[in-house]
């Protein structure tokens, strides 16, 4: 039997790696992938809690997280493409239109 804390620690580590990618990379596509990585880390912890508490709540929440992740990816990539038409770069530090 695998203890619950192993799953939770795994989820925390993957989430931290996702945060690192989100705040450090310059490529906007990799930033989006880091967001997906963080959502997956949260899903791991939700499903493991659902298993160990013998309830379906965590699994249901994981379904809705997957739904929202799909919607977010579609909208985000559409924004990325429409941005790229006006301004052909996807480096996050070259997008500085709002800089004072």
């Amino acid at each position: 039997m695998v203890p619950l804390s192993w799953y939770i620690v795994l989820s925390a580590v993957v989430f931290s790696i996702g945060v690192f990618g989100f705040i450090t990379r310059r490529n906007l596509i990799i930033i989006f992938i880091s967001v997906e990585l963080m959502l997956n880390a949260v899903n791991i912890s939700l499903v493991s809690f659902s298993h160990y508490l013998q309830s379906m709540r965590g699994q249901m929440l994981a379904f809705f997280v997957i739904t929202v992740a799909a919607a977010e990816a579609a909208i985000g990539l559409a924004i990325l493409i429409s941005f790229y038409r006006h301004n052909p770069t996807i480096k996050s530090d070259e997008i500085n239109l709002l800089k004072g």
């Binding site: 799953y7 931290s16 310059r26 379904f63």
Partner: protein, 170 residues
């Protein structure tokens, strides 16, 4: 260590290794292919946790839909020029320190977590006798009917928004 723990250690190690690859490789296509293998490993973890339907959904939605969407966007944007430049921000040493402190903090707190084993309705034997898909469907269409409808509205908004945003003249 039992066999289950050895298997879990393999999957956990692969997941951590692959997620490091995902955020550090230079080429976005390689990053997405690492992500594909990562999703398969996460689906295997869901099988450990007695969530077969969620494992199937993980493969179908994430690997089949979202990653293909990312690959299409990379194909649409011509990124040859960007590959020669540096991939991290200038402040990356500070970021790695901050994220390291965050990781140690949160993992050391969460490692002490224990759950009082409370016999709920959906035990392993119940799900195995009823079937994972049937259990999920019963809960989803009775107890979680309103969130299910809201999720369908969210998906509709996503479809309309993606079409509107990707039009030539905004």
């Amino acid at each position: 260590m039992t066999t289950l723990q050895v298997c879990f250690s393999y999957f956990a190690g692969m997941i951590i290794l692959l997620s490091v690859f995902v955020v550090t490789t230079k080429n976005p296509v390689h990053s997405i292919l690492c992500m594909l293998v990562l999703f398969v490993h996460i689906a295997a973890l869901y099988l450990f946790l007695n969530a077969e339907f969620l494992a199937a959904i993980q493969i179908i939605i994430y690997a089949g839909a979202i990653l293909v969407l990312f690959l299409f966007v990379i194909m649409l944007l011509n990124l040859r020029r960007e590959e020669t430049e540096r991939k991290f921000h200038k402040q990356w040493p500070v970021n790695i320190i901050i994220v390291g402190i965050f990781m140690i903090f949160i993992a050391s707190i969460l490692a002490k977590i224990t759950v009082i084993p409370e016999p709920g309705r959906y035990s392993v034997s119940f799900i195995q006798s009823e079937g994972s898909l049937r259990t999920v469907g019963k809960v989803l269409y009775t107890e979680y009917l309103l969130p299910f409808e809201i999720a369908s509205v969210i998906l509709l908004i996503a479809i309309v928004g993606a079409v509107v945003l990707a039009k030539k003249k905004l």
